[in-house]
Amino acid sequence: MTHARRERWLAFLMVLPSIILIAIFVYGFIGWTARVSLSRWDGIRPDYTWAGLDNYKQLFAGGGSVAARRFAIDLWNTFFFTLLFLAACVVVGLLLAILLDQKIKGEGIFRTIYLFPMAISFVVTGVVWQWIFAPGTETRLRGVNALLHSVGLDALRWGWYTDTSSIGPFHVALIPVIIAAAWQLTGYTTAMYLAGLRAVPEELREAARVDGANEIGVYRHIILPMLQPITLSALIVLGHISLKIFDLIYTMTGRGTGFVTDVPGIFMFETTFQGNHYAQGATISIIMLLTVTLVVVPYLIYSFRREVEL
């Protein structure tokens, strides 16, 4: 009895330092940012005059100011970026993992190649892909456009991230950015799926084959369902990265002409540290936090329940 109590105390003491640090440096600062977002702090000097939800209303004011227009574009861009980036990572990652799972020669080399981009900073990726997708002009083609021209695929040449056109609220300039982001993080989903595939017992596959399933059937009915938890974890991990994406886009294209590749993170950084609009910057941060929360909290609840069940 006393022994158990003592152990509990000890455990509490052991985690206390991290509890204190997290309380101050994570939750404390989130609370402080929330407070700033409800203030009139505009300029270098802090000003905590209560503003209610004014800063939020300004960002969501329909059609009105440039800031509201920019923020609306940002939210759409984040939506499409996240959607297509996740889709690309999951589909390509799964495909590569299945190919790697065929016990091919030199699997280790391929695994390293696919995983390697993850080791590079987003800043480096951004700069390199900016060069790759720089369109050039008719008389001096650059990057991918020069490549397409040299193999006779001129029909596929376009302005890439300089293109300001859109399909509905979807700016086509996001496509090269999504390609760059997916290039960097597909290796992560590949590794996750490969681990998942390896965890599927060979007996299960054999049993399915004995029952008359062909190879496609084995994947559809046996293996893919078993990979579901992996897909979910991958979506959560990549989802919160893409909702907060900043460094890749900042170095690759910036806001883009007409805000075609702008995202809330860039807006927040520029309005705060360039425009000195601290309250507006804090407001954008809190909205970003809320969007990430919308994704992460259901996952936490789900995984918590699973743990309880187990």
């Binding site: 000890l10 003491l13 052991m14 206390l16 330092p17 204190i20 640090l21 101050i24 505009d42 300029g43 270098i44 000097r45 802090p46 100011s65 440039v66 800031a67 227009r69 920019r70 900016q130 997708f133 720089a134 369109p135 050039g136 002009t137 008719e138 008389t139 001096r140 650059r142 302005g159 890439w160 991230y161 300089t162 300001t164 294209t253 910036g254 806001r255 883009g256 002409t257 007409g258 805000f259 075609v260 520029e270 309005t271 540290f273 360039q274 425009g275 000195n276 609009h277």
Partner: protein, 440 residues
């Protein structure tokens, strides 16, 4: 087993004590209530101590120019140790985030680099963290050697707030002389001539205007020249103190001219930076570019000679006017080594300091008595214009308006470059003036 446990408990308690102790350490006491120091009777002669200079000059001619100025300072004040506090990052946004943290925590450097004009005034002076440097100007009789247009940019509420070390010109059109000769053209001096020349160049298969606006400041930079061309220096100055109406027809004209100009620009302008655009002119792919006179440093760095391979004129329609921007140093309230800081500012503003810095940086002195023999042919012509022209402040580079205003203006430009909607852009620019608290 138990013994191990005990050690663990002790160890964690020690860690805890450290953490709590660190959190609980009282912040350094706030500086004594500042009794304003009396203005120095004569130039102070600091003998010792340190001097911390904060800047974002970490590369190229800028860092070397700063080092040259340090040498001048060290020769005069050998006992003072200079701490060169730099934060890398092109336009200084990263540096500013660091500076803001330090200033608000009452830990200012002794002096810091800042764009002269409203970037300094509306960010730092209105926050009450700067000390005026008017007395430094008076003690050194600088009011006679700095042009009134410069003093006006530096001043607010009857005080001067920083010491400029250099002047750059924003409204310059750079051109490839070979391309102009081949097509029998002369560089345009008005907007109308610009469009005539541009048509001829386009017909000859040359991109008339090179633009590299991957950073929106380049759009603002080109547009301020067009604004000046369409309304002249007096009305242009009035844009920044609300005496010129943002809804007026001159602004409309300027927006239309800018929209027309962009049709002569390279299609991939938003993928390029200003120096990549300059490279198009070097290569002869494009004929002209409108950019500040740091372009000259670029042209020379790739081996071109001014007035031989490349030429320069005031950007179309702005002859007789000089859009200035300037790097300057200010005096933060509560600078730890105030005497040394004032000595530094005295060096910054002196002829010797400026002639050490500017030939290396590729800019001209902010005073009119620089030693011409130290400067190249372009800089000499800029010095002549600076002494005789109407001097007006640059918007893109912090001289004309507050940072918040420039940011809002940039957002309007970002949309305008994409949709070329003159009405919406003018409305957004008028609103930016209202939001900045300048217009009604």
């Amino acid at each position: 087993m138990y013994r191990n446990m005990r050690w663990l408990v002790i160890a964690s308690l020690v860690v805890l004590a450290l953490v709590v102790g660190a959190c609980g350490t009282p912040a350094p006491p706030p500086p004594e209530p500042t009794t304003p120091l009396p203005p120095p009777e004569d130039t102070p002669m600091p003998e010792a101590g340190t001097l911390e200079i904060f800047s974002w000059w970490t590369a190229g001619g800028e860092a070397e120019g700063l080092a040259a100025m340090y040498e001048v300072f060290e020769a005069q004040y050998p006992g003072v140790e200079i701490i060169n506090a730099t934060v890398a990052g092109g336009a200084g946004m990263e540096a500013k985030a660091v500076l803001a943290t330090r200033m608000l925590a009452d830990d200012p450097p002794d002096s810091f680099q800042v764009h002269a004009g409203h970037e300094l005034i509306d960010t730092w002076v209105v926050a009450g963290v700067m000390e005026p440097v008017t007395s430094v100007f008076e003690d050194n009789d600088w009011l006679d050697v700095y042009p009134p247009g410069v003093i006006e940019v530096l001043s607010q509420d009857g005080e001067i707030w920083s010491v400029p070390v250099n002047i750059h010109r924003s409204n310059v059109l750079w051109y490839n002389t070979q391309v102009f000769d081949d097509n029998g053209l002369t560089p345009p001096t008005t907007l109308d001539e610009f469009f005539t020349v541009a048509d001829a160049l386009q017909a000859a298969g040359v991109t008339p205007l090179a633009v590299g606006d991957s950073g929106v400041w380049v759009d603002i930079h080109v547009f301020e020249s067009v604004l000046l061309a369409s309304m002249g220096p007096d009305a242009y100055r009035g844009l920044w103190d609300s005496t010129t109406d943002w809804n007026g027809p001159e602004v409309t004209d300027a927006l239309e001219a800018f929209a027309q100009m962009m049709e002569y620009a390279n299609e991939d302008h938003s993928a390029l930076s200003w120096d990549q655009a300059a490279q198009l002119v070097v290569d002869g792919d494009a004929a002209m570019t409108i950019m500040g006179d740091w372009s000259e440093g670029y042209f020379k760095s790739v081996g071109l000679t001014p007035e031989v391979e490349f030429g320069y004129v005031p950007s179309p329609g702005t002859g007789g006017s000089f859009i200035m921007l300037s790097d300057s140093f200010g005096l933060p309230e509560g600078a730890p080594n105030r005497d040394n800081a004032i000595a530094w500012l005295t060096v910054c503003g002196s002829q010797e300091g400026q002639d050490a810095f500017n030939p290396i940086k590729g800019s001209i002195p902010a005073r009119t008595d620089g030693d011409r023999s130290l400067y190249d042919v372009y800089l000499q012509s800029a010095m002549d214009d600076f002494a005789s022209n109407e001097i007006v402040p640059s918007l893109a580079h912090g001289a004309a308006a507050s940072e918040g205003w420039v940011t809002a203006f940039g957002d309007a430009m970002t949309l305008f470059v994409a949709d070329l909607d003159v009405g919406a852009a003018q409305e957004a620019m008028a609103q930016a003036c209202v939001d900045a608290g300048m217009c009604q």
